[in-house]
C-alpha cells in the first residue's frame, strides 16, 4: 500500500513538474514571442487625430481649418474581377464606371498595389463599403484642409499640398507650427473588437492655431475693390495693403488676380494668380516716392512747406537727360505745391538739395531695399542701389521714384512712418500663436515728429487741392500721394505707355487709424494714373476701415467743397522718366551708371494739353475766419479761443502742430476747431 502511494505521489509530482516547466517555457523563455502573438490578436493600434492648426482672422473668424475625412482605396492586384469591381464601386461611390475601370486596369498593369478611388466619402458611402467587408477595399481616415471663405485672403493664407503640407503663404511660412502630428494608442480589445483599455504609444500634437492681424471684412472689401479696379482699367494686376500705422498690423493684404485655395493647381493655370503682388512683385513706385524725397528734405535741409521751389516751367535737363512734368509747367511754387501737384522737376530740385548721400540714407531708413520680415514666403526686398553704384542721374531719378523698385507692402510701411509721427514699424501679420499674443516690435524713429506732422499736412494738400482729390473721404480728413510710373519693357529697353498707378494714404489726418496703399500694375492711358485709378480704391477701402474700426469722424459729413481741381489734367502725376533707350533702369541687370542717358524723353512725353491748367478756384470767405494756432502752447491756444468765443477740441500735449479747419477757413457759428498738440 505504501509503495502504491509513493508511485502516485511520484506521478503527481511529475505532472506538476511538467506543468511548471511548461509555465516557465510560456512565461519566461518564450514570453516575448507569445506576448507578441497575444498582442497581435488582442491589441489594435488606434490613430489619434491631431488636426492641422486653424487659421483665424483678428476677430476669430476661421479662414482655414482641417477636418477628418474618409478616403477609399483599392489594391488592384487583389481585385478578382476588375470589371465587376469597378461597376460595384462606381455604383456605391457614384463614380463614372468606365473611367474607374480604366484607372484600375492601368494600376493593375503597372503592378501598383494601391489606387485611391475617392476622397471625402459620405457617411452612407462609408457604411455601404464597410458592410461589404471586401479585403481589396480599404478605407483610410485622413485630414483635409478647407478654406471656408474661398478666395478671401488666398495669397496671405496660401495652401497645402496633397499631404497637407503648406506650399504657399502662411501655410508654408508657419508649417512647423501649423502641422499636427497624429498620435497612436494601443487598445486592448475583446473578441468583438470592443475597446477595453488603451495606452498612448505616441501623444498627438495638435497644430497651433494662428490668429492673423487680417480683418476679413476689410480684406473682402479690399479684394472686391482691387478686382473691380483692375477690370475697369484693364490692368494686369493689382494689390492693396491696409495697415495700422502704430502697431504695424496688416489689416488687409489683397492681390489680384487671385485663386481659390480649395482648388488644387491645374496644368495650364495662370501662375500670376498665385503670385502675391503686394509682397513678391516689386515695381518702380513713381511719384509716391516724392514723399520720401520731401521727408528727407525736411530732415536734412532748411526747406519747409513754404520754401519756394523753382519748377522751371515743368522741364529740366540734367546731364543730357530731359525730364518733364506730366502736366502744366509750374514756375516757382511752395514745396507743398510740389507734392500736391506732383511736380517731377520740383521733386528733383528738392532731391538735389538733399544730396545723394542723404537721399540714399533716408530711402533705406524708410525700409526700402530690404525685406520687411513679414512671415510670407518669397518676399521681395525691392531694389535700391548701393551708393557707390549711383550714377549721375540717379539722384534725380530716385527723387521722383525711379531707379528704385519697391513692393506695395514697403510703401505701406513707409506711409506708416508719416502717419504715426516718424517711426518705422515692422509689419505684423501674426497676432497670436495659439493663445499667446505676439508682441509688437519697438518702432525705430527715423523722422522728427514735427517733420512727420508737416508731411501729413502736405499730404493732406494732395487730397484737398492736388492729384489725390478722388481719394477724399466723406466725414474724414486724410492725406495721401498719388503715383504713376511708366513700366519699363526689358525686351525693347524702352519705357512703355503702360503704367503702375498707385496711391498711398492715411486717415484721419490728426490721429491716423489706417494706412492704405493701392497699386495697379499695367494700366493704360491717363485713366490708369494713380490719381484716377488707385485713389478711388483708397477711398472705399479706407472709408470701410474707418467704419469697421469705429473711428470718429473729424469732418462734417456733407462738407461743402471748398476747393476743387479745375482740370482733369491736374490729376496727372506721371513720373516721366527719360524715355530714351539708354536710360538706366533699376530693374536692369548689369547697371551702367556712367552711361549717359538718352535724350529722347521730351519727344515721348505727353505734351500738356493746356498750359493754363492747374488753376484752382477758391471761394472768397466773407466774415470771421479760423485763427492760426500753430506753434502756440495749449495755454495760449485755449486763452485765445476763450477770448474769441471759439470751441477748441485739443488733442495731445505740447505745441499746436495741426489744426482743423485750417487757418483762414470761414468760421460758422457752432464750428469746433480740432487742434493737435505734439512735443
Amino acid at each position: 500500500m505504501e509503495r502504491r502511494l509513493t508511485w502516485l505521489a511520484l506521478v503527481i509530482g511529475m505532472w506538476g513538474a511538467a506543468i511548471l516547466a511548461n509555465l516557465i517555457s510560456l512565461q519566461v523563455i518564450h514570453h516575448r514571442e507569445y506576448a507578441g502573438k497575444a498582442r497581435a490578436i488582442q491589441e489594435v493600434v488606434v490613430q489619434i487625430p491631431a488636426p492641422r492648426g486653424t487659421i483665424f482672422d483678428r476677430n476669430g473668424q476661421a479662414l482655414a481649418m482641417s477636418v477628418s475625412t474618409q478616403s477609399v482605396h483599392v489594391n488592384p492586384q487583389k481585385v478578382p474581377d476588375i470589371g465587376v469591381a469597378s461597376e460595384l464601386l462606381a455604383l456605391v461611390l457614384h463614380l463614372d464606371r468606365a473611367e474607374l475601370e480604366a484607372k484600375m486596369r492601368a494600376a493593375y498593369e503597372s503592378g501598383r498595389g494601391y489606387l485611391r478611388v475617392k476622397r471625402n466619402i459620405t457617411a452612407e458611402e462609408y457604411e455601404s463599403l464597410r458592410k461589404m467587408a471586401l479585403d481589396w477595399i480599404g478605407i483610410a481616415t485622413e485630414s483635409q484642409r478647407h478654406y471656408p471663405k474661398g478666395q478671401l485672403a488666398a495669397h496671405v493664407i496660401g495652401g497645402v499640398d496633397f499631404e497637407e503640407k503648406g506650399n504657399a503663404g502662411i501655410e508654408k511660412a508657419l508649417e512647423n507650427e501649423l502641422r499636427g502630428i497624429p498620435g497612436r494608442a494601443r487598445m486592448l480589445t475583446d473578441v468583438k473588437r470592443r475597446g477595453i483599455e488603451s495606452h498612448e504609444a505616441q501623444e498627438p500634437r495638435t497644430g497651433t492655431a494662428i490668429t492673423l492681424t487680417i480683418d476679413e471684412r476689410l480684406q473682402f472689401v479690399a479684394e472686391r475693390e482691387i478686382a473691380e479696379a483692375v477690370a475697369a482699367h484693364h490692368a494686369a494686376s493689382g494689390s492693396v495693403v491696409a495697415m495700422n500705422p502704430y502697431t504695424g498690423d496688416i489689416l488687409a493684404l489683397a492681390s489680384y488676380p487671385t485663386y481659390d485655395p480649395n482648388v488644387p493647381p491645374q496644368p495650364g493655370d495662370d501662375p500670376a494668380a498665385r503670385r502675391n503682388h503686394a509682397v513678391s512683385v516689386p515695381f518702380e513706385p513713381g511719384s509716391v516716392f516724392k514723399v520720401i524725397t520731401l521727408s528727407a528734405a525736411l530732415e536734412t535741409t532748411s526747406l519747409n512747406p513754404e520754401s519756394p521751389i523753382n519748377c522751371n516751367g515743368g522741364k529740366i535737363t540734367l546731364y543730357g537727360r530731359t525730364i518733364h512734368d506730366s502736366h502744366a509747367g509750374m514756375g516757382v511754387v511752395p514745396m507743398k505745391t510740389v507734392l500736391a501737384r506732383s511736380s517731377n522737376v520740383g521733386a528733383i530740385q528738392v532731391g538735389l538739395k538733399v544730396g545723394q548721400t542723404n537721399m540714399n540714407d533716408y530711402v533705406r531708413r524708410f525700409g526700402f531695399g530690404r525685406r520687411t520680415g513679414i512671415p510670407l514666403p518669397a518676399e521681395s526686398a525691392g531694389k535700391v542701389r548701393k551708393l557707390q553704384y549711383w550714377g549721375k542721374t540717379s539722384l534725380p531719378s530716385v527723387s521722383m521714384g525711379q531707379e528704385v523698385s519697391v513692393t506695395t507692402l514697403q510703401l505701406a510701411q513707409a506711409a506708416c512712418v508719416i502717419a504715426n509721427g516718424g517711426s518705422l514699424v515692422k509689419p505684423r501679420l501674426v497676432l497670436k500663436r495659439g493663445n499667446q499674443l505676439q508682441p509688437v516690435e519697438p518702432p525705430v524713429r527715423i523722422l522728427k515728429p514735427d517733420n512727420a506732422i508737416t508731411m501729413r499736412q502736405m499730404m493732406e494738400g494732395v487730397v484737398l487741392v492736388g492729384t489725390g482729390s478722388r481719394a477724399r473721404l466723406a466725414g474724414y480728413s486724410s492725406g495721401g500721394k498719388t503715383g504713376s510710373a511708366q513700366i519699363f519693357d526689358f525686351a525693347t529697353k524702352h519705357y512703355t505707355h503702360t503704367y503702375n498707378g498707385s496711391y498711398m494714404g492715411f486717415a484721419p489726418l490728426t490721429n491716423p487709424a489706417v494706412v492704405v496703399v493701392v497699386t495697379l500694375n499695367g494700366t493704360h492711358g491717363e485713366a490708369g494714373f494713380g490719381g484716377q485709378a488707385a485713389a478711388p480704391v483708397f477711398k472705399v477701402v479706407a472709408g470701410e476701415a474707418l467704419r469697421i474700426f469705429d473711428v470718429p469722424k473729424d469732418l462734417p459729413e456733407a462738407e461743402k467743397t471748398r476747393t476743387q481741381v479745375a482740370r482733369n489734367e491736374d490729376l496727372d502725376d506721371l513720373a516721366i522718366a527719360d524715355l530714351g533707350a539708354n536710360g538706366p533702369n533699376i530693374l536692369e541687370d548689369g547697371d551702367d551708371d556712367d552711361a549717359p542717358p538718352g535724350a529722347a524723353a521730351a519727344a515721348a512725353a505727353p505734351a500738356p494739353a493746356n498750359a493754363a491748367a492747374g488753376t484752382m478756384v477758391v471761394k472768397g470767405p466773407p466774415g470771421p475766419t479760423v485763427p492760426n494756432f500753430r506753434g502756440k502752447t495749449m495755454r495760449d491756444v485755449l486763452a485765445e479761443a476763450a477770448a474769441k468765443g471759439l470751441v477748441i477740441l485739443p488733442d495731445g500735449s505740447g505745441i499746436a502742430r495741426v489744426q482743423y479747419p485750417a487757418p483762414g477757413t470761414p468760421l460758422h457759428e457752432g464750428d469746433r476747431i480740432r487742434v493737435q498738440f505734439a512735443r
Binding site: 481649418m65 471663405k149 474661398g150 478666395q151 477595453i196 473682402f220 459729413e557
Partner: protein, 160 residues
C-alpha cells in the same frame, strides 16, 4: 428491532420455543426425504415496526450552533474577501469598456464640432453675406450711423 420467525415450520407439529428448538436437534428419521434443505437465513423475515417518538425532544447543543454560525460567518467572510479581491478587476474591465467607448465618442463629437465650425465659417463668409445683402436690398451703414449702446446694469442678472 426486527423480529424473525421460522418459515418451514410444520403446521401439525407443536411449535417449540424459538430459543430451544434447533434443526440439529430434530430426529433424522422423521424428516421428509423429498423436502429440500433450507437455504441459509431462509427462515428470517423483516417487518416495519411503528415507533412513536413524537415525544422525543432534541437536547439543546450551544456548541454545535456556535460552530454552525462560525462556519456561515467564515463562508461570508471568504465571499467578501474574494469579492473585494476580484471586484476591482471586474470593475476596471467594465470601466475600461466605458472609457474606450467615451473616448471614441469624444473623438467623434470633436470631429463633428469641427465640421459644424467649418459650415458656420462658410455661412458667415463675407462674400455670401454680401450677396444676401444685395438680394435683400440692404446697404452698409455709414460710419457713425451705428450707435453701440452701453450695456445695461441688469444685463448680467438677466443672463443669470
Amino acid at each position: 428491532m426486527p423480529a424473525f420467525l421460522r418459515k418451514n415450520e410444520a403446521p401439525a407439529a407443536p411449535a417449540p420455543a424459538p430459543e430451544t428448538v434447533t434443526r440439529t436437534a430434530r430426529p433424522r428419521a422423521a424428516r421428509d426425504p423429498f423436502r429440500l434443505r433450507a437455504l441459509p437465513h431462509d427462515d428470517i423475515f423483516f417487518y416495519c415496526k411503528r415507533i412513536d417518538n413524537s415525544r422525543l425532544v432534541r437536547e439543546a447543543d450551544p456548541q454545535a450552533r456556535g460552530a454552525c454560525w462560525s462556519a456561515i460567518g467564515a463562508a461570508c467572510l471568504l465571499l467578501v474577501l474574494l469579492t473585494s479581491a476580484f471586484a476591482p478587476t471586474a470593475m476596471t474591465t467594465l470601466a475600461g469598456y466605458k472609457l474606450e467607448a467615451l473616448h471614441s465618442e469624444e473623438r467623434r463629437l470633436l470631429e463633428e464640432r469641427r465640421v459644424l465650425d467649418l459650415q458656420e465659417a462658410e455661412l458667415l463668409s463675407p462674400a455670401r453675406l454680401d450677396q444676401l445683402a444685395h438680394e435683400n436690398n440692404l446697404v452698409t451703414p455709414s460710419s457713425g450711423q451705428v450707435i453701440h449702446l452701453d450695456k445695461p446694469e441688469g444685463e448680467v442678472a438677466m443672463v443669470k
